[in-house]
């Protein structure tokens, strides 16, 4: 049996750090691609719930519409993609 390797994370100079929590990544993703929108109406700012936005995103991506940040949804958010928003323009 090989000895398990103890993984050490190193901060590489010049690296574009994309270390963020899944929830941070999700919020970022939902905003960037138009699922989580802030609407300004008569000075009142309403925010579509994250769960609703997640469902919308999951529908677009052909995932199970759980409205929750499950593993499959997180994985899809990490995949390379086009920068054009999926919702609204």
């Amino acid at each position: 049996w090989s000895v398990p390797i103890k993984t050490i994370n190193v901060t590489f100079p010049g690296d574009i750090i994309k270390n963020m929590t899944d929830m941070e990544r999700a919020e970022n993703y939902l905003k960037k691609f138009g699922y989580l929108d802030t609407l300004h109406r008569s000075g009142f700012q309403s925010m579509v719930s994250t769960s609703k936005a997640l469902k919308k995103m999951q529908k677009q991506m052909g995932l199970e519409e759980t409205g929750e940040l499950d593993e499959a949804t997180v994985e899809v958010m990490k995949r390379p993609r086009c920068g054009v928003p999926d919702v609204g323009n």
Binding site: I8, K18, M61, G62, P80, C82, G83, N89
Partner: protein, 573 residues
């Protein structure tokens, strides 16, 4: 499919585009080709035409950039966002931007086109053998001038075919020096530089002076990336240094140690711990063709589709044999209508068709056995097997004047005088009962009307319904190690060129022997066609070399006068 709000679309059919700049990852000719093919994806199914402009303002301005690149939507380094494009309209609308922090390839690792050498600019072939050693990247071994080179066939020792790989020591791109090579050392702001640098720029592109003093001459160009160069990090453009030391341990290859994202990296000096110079190792890269085809979909007015297999689905996935999804076709035709001419949708199989009666002729050959014809009628065997959905065919040939497309025991025909699309599929075994399911090549002798079929190391000769064979292709004089004949073209009355791998032989039909002086290299006799074509045939005065879904058409002066899709141009789908 989805269109943008208000169904934004171009109000003219002759759309123009302009390539503003290039990525260092691929030769500019490969980039131009990828864009042209990406536009063709859409022009094949609509009445739109795309014309390239070399200056001024085009409808679709195409550029590469990194991070903040002049619009409100910055890119995000390697991976993540790959590109974006704007829907049709004035100004920035219609433009397409590609993230140059990505590694742009044709989707399957470094796409290295050579220059100079003796291979007419062919692509590097990896791995290749040089002095008994296998190389998976360009190398400077065997040279004293430090120029990286590669073989363009799998064995340099045998074929001696080579070209030079991208290097700043050979040429630059962009800038103002007409592609001149870098001059090292050069001075910039009174400092001396021994290599390409990003100093003085905010966009991260590596450049060099093409004279010994930029301060004096102001001549510069951008450095092409070597196939071994790292991506991102703090040493972009430098090759990995093996072995290197990281946390006291020696590494002989790229590693993901030290990272939690699983990406492979390497040090560009012998000791990372001391020098802290590193970069990500080259990977498969992203197919510029596929990403461009998607972005151009936006530039023409298509928004993201929710169908995973559609080109307009927002996620990238590499597909080897790309064809436009029905959803994309419906979307773009909703905006611009159908292409005038042949129907772009797959034709329905036609009712049973009577094949021309074979003309039995006497033969000097002594058949091994004779199969009596059971029927002279061919009929479609499985209408669900649609030729238009096939990405490649085992072989394509002309029999009785009509194109025949063979695949896995079936064949389809396209009449030369009509544009009604393919008929079939028909069963090979029903018409030529002795043949195996896979036919590698076939041709009809113009003089005797005998049809020669090749499959693996064997061939059959049909005279009407009578067969001769199977016989070994070695009996024709082909070497023992030839696995199959992939292409056949009749020249004159009794000579036939047989293609296999990167070589071809000339068969004398009367003598049934290979002429002396053969084999020859396909690339040296037929410049401009793929050296690894998997099918070669003759049709209407032209030679056709097929690779993947494309064909290269060569005229009688041995000039490639057309490159196109088998599916649309030959099958008439």
């Amino acid at each position: 499919y989805k269109t943008f709000e208000g169904d934004l679309k171009w109000d003219h059919k002759d759309v123009t585009y302009r390539v503003i700049n290039y990525s260092p990852d691929m030769d500019s000719s490969l980039i131009d080709d990828a864009f042209a093919r990406a536009f063709k994806v859409w022009s094949d199914v609509t009445p739109l035409t795309f014309t390239r402009l070399f200056d001024g303002t085009a409808d679709i301005m195409i550029s590469f950039g990194r991070a903040d690149h002049g619009d409100p939507y910055p890119f995000d380094g390697k991976d993540g966002l790959l590109a974006h494009a704007y829907p049709p309209g004035e100004g920035m609308q219609g433009d397409a931007h590609f993230d140059d922090d990505e590694y742009w390839t044709l989707g399957k690792g470094p796409a290295v086109k050579t220059r100079y050498g003796n291979a007419d600019g062919a692509m590097c072939r990896f791995p290749f053998i040089f002095e008994g050693k296998s190389y998976t990247t360009c190398t400077t071994n065997g040279r004293s001038d430090n120029l990286p080179w590669c073989a363009t066939t799998s064995d340099y020792d045998r074929d001696k075919k080579y070209g030079f790989c991208p290097s700043e020591l050979l040429y630059t791109f962009g800038g103002n020096a007409d592609g001149a090579k870098c001059v090292f050392p050069f001075t910039f702001q009174e400092e001396e530089y021994e290599g390409c640098t990003t100093d003085g720029r905010t966009d991260g592109y590596r450049w060099c002076a093409t004279t010994d003093s930029f301060d004096r001459d102001r001549k510069f160009g951008f450095c092409p990336s070597r196939d071994t160069a790292v991506i991102n990090g703090n040493s972009e453009g430098e090759p990995c240094h093996f072995p290197f030391v990281f946390l006291g341990k020696k590494y002989n290859s790229c590693t993901s140690e030290g990272r939690n994202d699983g990406k492979l990296w390497c040090s560009t000096t012998d000791n990372y711990d001391e020098d802290k110079k590193w970069g990500l190792c080259p990977d498969q890269g992203y197919s510029l063709f596929l990403v461009a085809a998607h972005e151009f979909g936006h530039a023409l007015g298509l928004d993201h589709s929710s169908i995973r297999e559609a080109l307009m689905y927002p996620m990238y996935s590499y597909v080897e044999d790309f064809s436009l999804h029905k959803d994309d076709i419906e979307g773009i035709q909703y905006l611009y209508g159908r292409k005038t001419g042949p129907d772009p949708t797959p034709p329905q199989p036609k009712p049973p068709t009577t094949a021309p009666m074979p003309d039995p002729t006497t033969s000097e050959d002594k058949p091994d056995h004779t199969t009596l014809p059971t029927t002279t009628t061919t009929r479609p065997v499985d209408p669900t097997k649609d030729a238009c959905k096939m990405t490649t065919f085992d072989t394509i040939t002309v029999i009785e004047g009509n194109l025949h497309f063979f695949k896995d025991g079936l064949y389809w025909t396209v009449s030369s005088g009509s544009d009604s699309g393919p008929k079939g599929p028909f069963s090979i075994s029903e018409r030529w009962s002795d043949l195996p399911a896979v036919i590698d090549s076939a041709f009809e002798d113009n003089l005797t009307k005998k049809v020669y079929f090749f499959s693996g190391p064997q061939f059959w000769v049909y005279t009407g319904q009578s067969t001769l064979g199977p016989r070994g292709i070695v009996k024709l004089g082909l070497e023992n190690d030839i696995q199959k004949v992939e292409g056949s073209v009749q020249r004159g009355k009794s000579k036939v060129l047989l293609f296999s791998g990167e070589k071809f032989w000339r068969l004398d039909l009367k003598a049934q022997k290979i002429d002396s002086g053969y084999p020859r290299f396909t690339a040296s006799a037929f410049g401009g066609v793929p050296s690894d074509a998997h099918d070669v045939f003759f049709y209407k005065g032209h030679m056709y070399f097929c690779r993947d879904r494309f064909y290269w058409r060569m005229n009688s002066r041995r000039q490639v006068d057309r490159v196109g899709y088998v599916k649309y141009d030959l099958l008439q789908c």
